[in-house]
């Protein structure tokens, strides 16, 4: 017979190795964040649609998009958002912070990024935000430290 006193607590870890290859298009974009502090997109040669982040080919017709790089932002508008207010060990940042879809000026698609500064309770769809670049940049998406309300 097992008793309640036989139970004990196990502390464990769940580890996930993660290996990310940005590829030539993604690398071009990340290197520009690091070295130029500029955000680029690629423009479809026929439809004119600007994709940010850039991609090799169009999602529908597979046209190569990498011949026409355009600078976008650094300002844009929030097209969707949530505010993270709870603390968990795996959160990448101290709370609270916003996670928002941001359509940069000149872009037709939105990127997901962090919104900080100002009262996050005031965050709304349509809010204007501006990219704040990290001082120390390593060619990752966090070379944009966060977006701040304008």
């Amino acid at each position: 017979m097992a008793a309640e006193s036989d139970a004990f607590v196990v502390e464990g870890t769940f580890a996930l190795p993660y290996n990310y290859f940005a590829g030539r298009v993604g690398s071009t974009w990340l290197v520009a964040l690091r070295d130029e502090q500029k955000i680029y997109g690629v423009r479809h040669p026929q439809t004119g649609k600007v994709f940010v982040p850039p991609r090799q080919v169009d999602e529908k017709d597979f046209t190569d998009l990498t011949g026409d790089w355009v600078e976008v932002g650094p300002e844009g508008r929030v097209t969707g958002f949530t505010v993270i207010r709870y603390r968990e060990p795996y959160q990448p940042l101290p709370v609270p912070f916003g996670l928002a879809l941001i359509q940069l000026d000149g872009a037709d698609t939105s990127i997901v990024h962090v919104v900080r500064g100002e009262d996050l309770g005031q965050l709304s769809v349509g809010r204007r935000v501006r990219a704040v670049f990290a001082r120390e940049r390593k060619a990752t998406i966090l070379d944009i430290a966060h977006f701040a309300p304008v």
Binding site: F8, V9, G12, T13, F14, A15, F21, S27, T28, V31
Partner: protein, 164 residues
């Protein structure tokens, strides 16, 4: 804007995400794990209706669905009933590292287990051609002071040389 040449520098990121976990063993698994840690004994429990062993033990008999409250020691030796040879290792969920391959896992019918119940663990053998059903194997425990109350308190099973 002139055409932007694609970067010659290729960006690659390696990252290990770690998620802390915390859970209770419950009384039945707790009894099993404590017996491994404190006594180097493998405890099964026995169904009062069908009489089969369960190892590791569980609250109810998986077949009869009645509470299985009687515990019995089984092993530490047993008979290899089936095995798998692994050539493609998934990452260890605790460390995130992938281990050396090939390695083998074993389904061991521990001595004293009833109803053909087998216990699944690692089989320590580098020569995979030696493996066959019916081999006699035994549990090798982690040394004193290093056992934590985990299934890894049994390091692995090893072949008992000279026994059929």
């Amino acid at each position: 804007m002139p055409p932007k040449p694609l970067s010659e520098e290729l960006i690659h990121r390696e990252h290990m995400a770690r998620f802390p976990q915390r859970w209770s063993t419950g009384p039945v698994m707790g009894k099993f794990l404590k017996a491994l840690r404190d006594e180097k004994r493998i405890m099964a429990n026995v169904c009062p209706r069908c009489g089969r062993s369960q190892v590791p033990p569980r609250e109810v008999c998986a077949v009869c669905r009645v509470a299985a409250t009687q515990f019995e020691e089984v092993g530490p030796a047993g008979t290899l009933r089936n095995f798998d040879v692994v050539y493609y290792a998934s990452p260890d969920p605790v460390t995130g590292q992938s281990r050396e391959v090939p390695y083998a896992t074993a389904y061991v019918e521990l001595d004293g287990a009833k109803g053909g119940a087998t216990f699944w663990h690692e089989l320590h053998e580098t020569d995979m051609t030696k493996l066959r059903r019916g081999l006699r194997v035994r549990a090798v425990f982690e040394e004193d002071g290093k056992r934590t109350g985990a299934i890894t308190d049994i390091k692995y099973f090893e072949i008992i040389e000279g026994e059929a």
